[in-house]
């Protein structure tokens, strides 16, 4: 107890040291004066009194020293001393310090950046209570699974015993409703959700209530919840808003609640401003995959138990709804966070791996710098050892220096990392989930800070301890005998430093091979023939009013009038409308070939489905291989027709069996909205286009005239597949935007969104690849630069060390070229070692990035040859500089060195 008190008061004394010192002096001075006075009073002279007083007191300075010993904390004190000393050393060698700090900042900054994304995407808990217990319904296929299900499956699965609070919703692509006051129309992000949504996510409703069961049934009353933000923005936080009626997309909705501002759905996609009831039919037999669903695991139920039940349910479902599930399709559940993150996990793992290699190289570099300095400090350290510094104390001193360095590097790294990541994500958010619009949800929180602190301290320890141990172990005698310039770099130290450089080269070779594979894949992707031409094509989306969207004929009217008006604009070459653009999400549907016997199930196959206006193929310059394109005469009154692509023709019709003679029936009996779908005559076959993704081989696709789509399909698709206008001009596409928008406003009075060029659509479709490629390239270049600096540093230092030797050689008649050759050989030997290790390493590691590659093998021979050459050339340059300096050594100067 007393000990703790004493310790505590000593610790506290650290902060009041100056004050204590003053008080101590004051007290001692008073005491001596009192003594002096007493002696004087007894009749002694002033001088004698002073002498006696000091004598009686007993050595003022010794007393003070003992006093200090008692209020000081020896351990803390020496740490402070170390820190001050370390800081002084770092300031004294600014070149070394800046190089080390910047190197570390690059390494740590890169890791902070990637970790901040990993944190936002993978680690941060979802913004509602107990996210681990909320599971998403998954539809599984061979080797894949998607978080999407159909109304019929939802109704079947929601009754399973392992889950509760099952809600249906659509995340991300929520669609919009338009809200009109007077002449101003605004698009509002809408989320259609079932009644249980509010309970499942424990959505805070600050006023009013969520949907009742009745309101969530088909043809139920039109009610809406609005966001707190919208309430404040459009309704001035009117307290009487509940019960008011809003005109949304031309229909009256009664406001029944306000969702609190703390409900943060931003990581799911566009933040909803209005919530409407999903109104799913409880007896739905609709197998079209059009919604997402999630539930909460019942108390005591594990994820595995739920998965097991869903797996079994698939078998039962197959019996209850024969042919509703294609072969190999099943059900499962995943924790919602995992389901949302999807394949972003792989991307982030690869990038984390790459960036940690960069950090390793940075560490090796700084360790080398430190070793270099440690050798020139051998004498200093030896002297300190002679003066009695213990080995532990000296290692601690060196560690203090390196930790200080790495903390400085870490602080700078945080700035680098966060700033770099923000910039990167605002340019290209790469379709990463959970990062928010332009990556605004990627934040500096305690996890990121903790991570950076951890790796900073960790690297400081690692790269500091090794040189520390080495330096403090050195034998005192030779160090003291030598001249101060540190000839004493022992063979062992040089060996160790060479190994560090070899490791750096090996790691950078690995990274460079990885990144060049990414670059080659990216180039292959850009060079791939998509089958459609995108230059000078402008695209924009338009949501029609709910009333209009109920009937195909009314939408057709809008489409025809819009096309007529746009076509007459100057600069416009071709114009068309479509339900979805190539490379953007398109629905798929099964089809049956009329007159052909069925083998298994009610359909022969499946294909992507797009509804288009005439002129669509013209806009994208997609060639008609056989038959004809749609014309304006393919309207509601004409015989139903369909156009298929070559893939579909090849896959489902054998030679001699002409698809142009065939009729197909699409999705009837599969999805409810296709109940009125007629049999369609195939009238044309178009060339294949890469409409799913640039990296995917074209598959079967079918196109139907927009004017012939069943009403129910039009109504159902209005939200997810609004009208997308495509306009080919002979001028810069965006320059047409204003005029086109003006014309369309006159036609439909609806706002337009997602106005962009088709080139942009293409490049966003590969944004993830570009993101990966960019980061991998940055990391690889960093690695190469660091490795080059590393080998340059080693060689330059070695040349400096060998100056006397070189001088002697030159004096004895060696040629400058010979000297150069020796140095170059010494350096390049390390490079070759590095390559010999790095290439097989890469050979074994590239299989992990196979999934990201397109058009290039993970063991691409060109890459595996060019990268070692590139590294050799870079290293040659880095080695050549010190070699040249060595060969220019003046023998006289060199010998005088001694």
């Amino acid at each position: 107890m007393t000990r703790i008190r004493t310790l505590l008061s000593r610790v506290l004394a650290v902060f009041g040291r100056a004050e204590i010192e003053v008080e101590m002096n004051e007290e001692i001075r008073s005491h001596v004066e009192e003594l002096e006075e007493d002696y004087r009073r007894s009749g002694l002279s002033a001088q004698e009194a002073h002498r006696r007083a000091v004598l009686a007191f007993g050595g003022i300075e010794q007393v003070k020293e003992r006093y200090r010993d008692r209020y000081r904390l020896p351990a803390l004190d020496s740490v402070l001393q170390d820190l001050v000393f370390a800081a002084r050393m770092l300031v004294k060698h600014p070149g070394f310090t800046v190089t080390a700090i910047v190197t570390l900042a690059l390494g740590i900054g890169g890791n902070t950046a990637i970790f901040s994304i990993v944190n936002a995407v993978l680690l941060k808990p979802a913004p509602f209570p107990d996210p681990d217990r909320v599971v998403m319904f998954m539809t599984t296929g061979p080797g894949t699974q998607v978080s999407i299900t159909s109304p019929a499956r939802f109704q079947y699965l929601r009754t399973l015993s392992t889950i509760q609070d099952v809600a249906a919703f659509r995340m991300g692509d929520t669609g919009v409703l338009t809200y009109t006051v007077g002449t101003a129309t605004e698009s509002l992000h809408r989320a259609a959700v079932s009644a249980e949504y509010f309970k499942l996510f424990e959505v805070p409703i600050v006023q009013g209530r969520g949907f009742s069961r009745e309101e969530d049934l088909p043809n139920g009353p039109k009610v809406v919840l609005i966001s707190y933000n919208l309430w404040a923005r459009r309704f001035a936080s009117d307290p009487n808003i509940i019960g008011e009626t809003l005109q949304l997309s031309g229909e009256p909705y009664v406001v029944i609640g306000i969702v609190g501002p703390t409900f943060d759905a931003s990581e799911f996609g566009p933040v909803p401003e209005v919530w409407t009831a999903f109104q799913l039919d409880p007896n739905s037999t609709d197998q079209g995959q059009s919604l997402q669903a999630a539930g909460r695991l019942k108390p005591g139920i594990t994820l595995e138990e739920a998965k097991e039940e869903f797996k079994k349910a698939a078998a039962d479902y197959r019996q209850a709804f024969p042919n509703a599930l294609l072969h190999g399709v099943g059900f499962s559940v995943e924790p919602i966070q995992q389901a949302l993150v999807g394949n972003a996990r792989d991307t982030l793992l690869v990038l984390s791996g790459a960036v940690s290699l960069v950090l390793l190289i940075a560490c090796a570099n700084v360790a080398n710098l430190l070793l270099m300095r440690a050798t020139s400090r051998t004498r200093e350290i030896a002297i300190r050892a002679v003066l009695g510094a213990g080995r532990g104390r000296m290692i601690r001193q060196l560690l203090t220096e390196t930790v200080l360095l790495s903390l400085a590097g870490g602080s700078l790294g945080i700035l680098f990392g966060i700033w770099g990541m923000r910039t990167l994500l605002s340019v290209n958010a790469a379709g990463l989930p959970r990062v928010g619009v332009d990556g605004t949800l990627v934040d500096l929180d305690w996890r990121v800070l903790g991570f950076t602190l951890f790796i900073s301290l960790g690297t400081g320890m690692v790269f500091g301890l090794i040189p520390g141990l080495q330096a403090s172990r050195s034998d005192l005698n030779p160090s003291l005998k030598e001249s101060g310039r540190g000839m004493g770099a022992t063979l062992k130290q040089n060996y160790f430093r060479s190994m560090l450089v070899v490791a750096e080269i090996a790691l950078s070779v690995t990274l460079l091979i990885g990144s060049s594979l990414f670059i080659r894949a990216q180039l292959a992707l850009s060079a791939v023939d998509s089958g459609f031409q995108t230059t000078n094509v402008l695209t924009m989306r338009m949501y029609v009013t709910k009333q209009r969207s109920q009937h195909t004929a009314e939408v057709a009217e809008v489409v025809n009038e819009g096309i007529d008006r746009i076509r007459s604009l100057p600069g416009v070459v071709d114009v068309a409308a479509t339900s979805s653009l190539p490379l953007q999400l398109a629905p798929g549907g099964p089809f049956r070939i009329i007159g052909r016997p069925l083998v298994s199930g009610p359909f022969h196959g499946g294909a992507l489905w797009t509804s288009i206006s005439s002129g669509y193929f013209q806009v994208f310059r997609i060639p008609i291989k056989r038959g004809r394109a749609f014309t304006d005469r393919d309207d509601a009154s004409a015989p139903p027709v369909v156009i298929i692509n070559e893939s579909m023709a090849k896959q489902y019709w054998t030679k001699g069996d002409d698809p142009l003679n065939a009729r197909i029936l699409i999705a009837k009996g599969f999805a409810k909205q296709f109940d009125d779908e007629p049999e369609r005559q195939i009238v044309g076959i178009i060339g294949d286009i890469r409409d799913r993704a640039l990296s995917l081989e074209p598959g079967p696709s079918m196109y139907v005239p927009q004017a012939q789509v069943p009403d129910a399909v039009t109504a159902r698709g209005a939200n997810n597949f609004p009208i997308t206008w495509v306009i080919r001009g002979n001028v810069a596409p965006l320059s047409l935007s204003r005029a086109v928008q003006e014309q369309l406003r006159q036609v439909a009075g609806q706002p337009l969104s997602e106005i962009q060029t088709m080139d942009n659509v293409v490049s966003s479709s590969i944004s993830r690849q570009r993101f990966n490629t960019l980061l991998m390239t940055v990391f690889a270049c960093l690695a190469l630069a660091l490795a080059a600096i590393g080998i340059y540093g080693l060689m330059a230092y070695s040349v400096e060390q060998r100056t006397p030797e070189i001088g002697i050689r030159l004096a004895l008649g060696a040629e400058a070229a010979e000297i150069r050759r020796i140095i170059m050989f010494q350096g390049m030997r390390l490079v070759v070692f590095g390559i010999v290790i790095g290439v097989p390493l890469a050979f074994n590691l590239t299989k992990f990035i196979q999934g990201f590659l397109f058009g290039v093998e993970p063991r691409d021979p060109i890459t595996f040859v060019t990268i070692p050459v590139l590294v050799s050339v870079t290293a040659l340059l880095a080695v050549w500089l010190p070699a040249r300096r060595a060969s220019r050594t003046c023998p006289l100067d060199a010998l005088r060195y001694e």
């Binding site: 008080e23 005491h31 007191f57 007993g58 008692r70």
Partner: protein, 115 residues
């Protein structure tokens, strides 16, 4: 100075100092030194400076407290007084001292019977 010796001396000195402060406190350092010299009647000669590191230790242990004030001669000095914990410590130490000194006294007694 020999460390062991100083430890013993320190222990004794601490006890005397505490006792002095207990009886006369609040009291300043110089007065404590004079008092100890008086009581020991010059038998126990010490460097007066030794007092200060010890006063600091006693204070750190929480047995005494200090306060700045002005001495009879008008100098700025620290006045020390005993705390509750200090009184307890003093009682314990005094008892301890009595026990030990009685043992030593028995050893030291020339007519002492060691059996």
């Amino acid at each position: 100075m020999n460390d062991e010796k100083s430890d013993i001396l320190n222990g004794t000195l601490a006890l005397m100092t505490l006792r002095t402060i207990d009886v006369l406190g609040p009291i300043h350092g110089y007065a404590i030194a004079r008092r100890i010299e008086q009581v020991s009647q010059g038998v126990l000669a010490m460097n007066q400076g030794t007092l200060y590191p010890m006063l600091l230790s006693l204070q750190q242990a929480g047995w005494i407290a200090s306060k700045w004030g002005v001495s009879d001669t008008g100098r700025k000095v620290k006045f020390y007084s005993i705390t509750k914990a200090g009184k307890k410590q003093l009682a314990a130490e005094t008892e301890n001292w009595h026990r030990i000194s009685s043992v030593i006294a028995r050893f030291a007694d020339p007519k002492g019977n060691l059996s």
